[in-house]
């Protein structure tokens, strides 16, 4: 997936080409990185704390400017003037991990209206977008509440709504499930699925390999040596690469591999992605009886 797309392949929505970045006089955090976000794919970004995940996401969203290399939007280099940044920011929206870093207006609806107002849209259109974003995140009921009186899960949704109201083609989320309880995580994943159904491409940074296996089409593994990208099934089966990134194998992959190595399950096939799938898989000795999805 690295490098220049072969002729005929549609350009990725947004891409980093040989990007290096470091903060102020500090050392490089990312060096010569190639990275692509392709339309319609669910992409999970994995790596240990300090591996540069957040930096990469900020580069995608135009919050940071590469020291060298370039960021491309639909195949063309991003220009960092006002018009160029506006184009990038209406395509890519980043939601940071801590919702409190993103909410600053008096009420949820006001906060969500911030982006559309800055786009210079007429008031009616702004209202429509706010309603739509609140509905998409299932927080219509708390639209007029002050943000600091909401629960953590609600604040998280409000922060995402603020980005969604910009109608980005790519939504980049930093650890969106962190701090949520399992039910909250499930609800959020369902919301993201609905957004994807509406045509938004979703990129998510996470530490949770099981979540990545279950949710993502593609996985990008950020290691000191660079980024390793591939389908979730491919990347998350590479013990060595995962170890290099400070991660373990997902449960499903580990168990499937153990069963296969003992001949208790046939080689190949998709690793089970949820505990239920794995239970069926283990009971029935392989993927045959476990239809994907």
């Amino acid at each position: 997936m690295n490098g220049i797309p072969v002729d005929g392949t549609p350009s990725p929505l947004v891409a980093l080409r040989g990007v290096s970045f470091g903060y102020e006089d500090g050392p490089l955090v990312l060096e010569g990185l190639d990275f692509e976000v392709c339309g319609g794919r669910a992409l999970a970004l994995l790596g240990r704390n300090g591996s540069g995940k957040t930096t990469l996401m900020r580069l995608l969203g135009g919050g940071l400017r590469p020291r060298s290399g370039r960021v491309e939007l639909a195949g063309r280099p991003v220009s960092y003037d006002r018009a160029g940044l506006t184009r990038l920011r209406t395509t890519v929206q980043l939601v940071v991990q801590d919702p409190d870093d993103q909410l600053f207006a008096a009420s949820v609806a006001q906060d969500v209206s911030f982006g559309p107002l800055n786009l210079g849209l007429p008031e009616e259109e702004v209202r429509a977008r706010v309603d739509e974003a609140l509905a998409a995140l299932d927080i219509t009921g708390v639209g007029d509440r002050p943000t600091h009186l909401l629960s953590y899960g609600q604040r998280k949704r409000a922060a995402i709504a603020g980005a969604v109201a910009m109608r980005p083609r790519v939504l980049v989320l930093d650890e969106p499930t962190a701090g949520l309880d399992p039910e909250g995580q499930e609800r959020l994943l369902a919301t993201l699925e609905a957004l994807r159904g509406g045509g938004t491409t979703v990129v998510m940074a996470t530490h949770d390999v099981d979540l990545a296996l279950r949710w993502a089409d593609d996985v990008a593994l950020l290691t000191p040596g660079g980024v390793r990208t591939g389908t979730a099934g491919e990347v998350l089966a590479r013990t060595d690469a995962l170890a290099e990134a400070g991660l373990r194998l997902p449960w499903g992959v580990a168990v499937a591999a153990a069963l296969r190595s003992r001949g208790a399950a046939p080689a190949g096939g998709v690793a089970p992605r949820t505990a239920e799938e794995l239970a069926r898989w283990a009971a029935e000795g392989g993927p045959s009886a476990a239809p994907a999805g």
């Binding site: 919050g63 506006t86 600053f104 911030f114 786009l119």
Partner: protein, 248 residues
Amino acid sequence: MLSIDAAAHSSRWRRRHPVDKAVLGLGLTLLAVVLPPWPGAALVLVAALALLLGPARVPAGRLWRAYRVPLGFCVTGAVTLLVRVGGPDLVGLAPDGAVRAGELLLRSSAASLGVLVFAFTTPMSDLLPRLVRAGVPAAVVDVAVVTYRMAFLLLDAVRQVRQAQAARLGHTTRAAAWRSLGGLGATAFVRAFDRAGRLQSGLAGRGYDGTLRVLVPPTRVSGGFVGGSLALLVAIAVLGTALEGPLS
């Protein structure tokens, strides 16, 4: 803010008692103000620069970035001394204006460097708790400690919120910029007091009763360092006074 503070923590003189560095740095500042600017302040300036770049090993780039802040003010202020107002032609060049402006510039920049000798080597964490022993009321020191810690948290929060605002085009138009700024100010307020409340319950378990007692590292005032500093200060004072006549 972060630059001087961060440098102070990794300074070569970090382990020295703040009094050591106060005698040297603030002593130099005092001399810069008291001695005749030429050659007194010039001597202070050279001595302070030598100390900062030499034994204290402050990187030159960092020092320059901190130093150009006061320098900007000094230059603006000194320029006004070049001009005189009133008299027959209302505005004109002031007699001796260049000399007075130069002297002011010299005094002010030398004094700034003296304080930087202290600031670049003494972290607030070593200084604040010791202010109680210097006679500052404990309640004020406690408030200053919380202000210091929380200022960093708030500055970080404000930086994050600014980035989030930029991502949603918060700096594209004048109206947007004002909306952003108002949001930042209000967020800082809400976050500060929310944090105070949470800190209150976070500290309760360790026996917080309104006083923030902490233990400072057991460092001693070094007789040798203070003596050496005083000797340097005396030498500069003597030299500055003695050379004043011949050099002017």
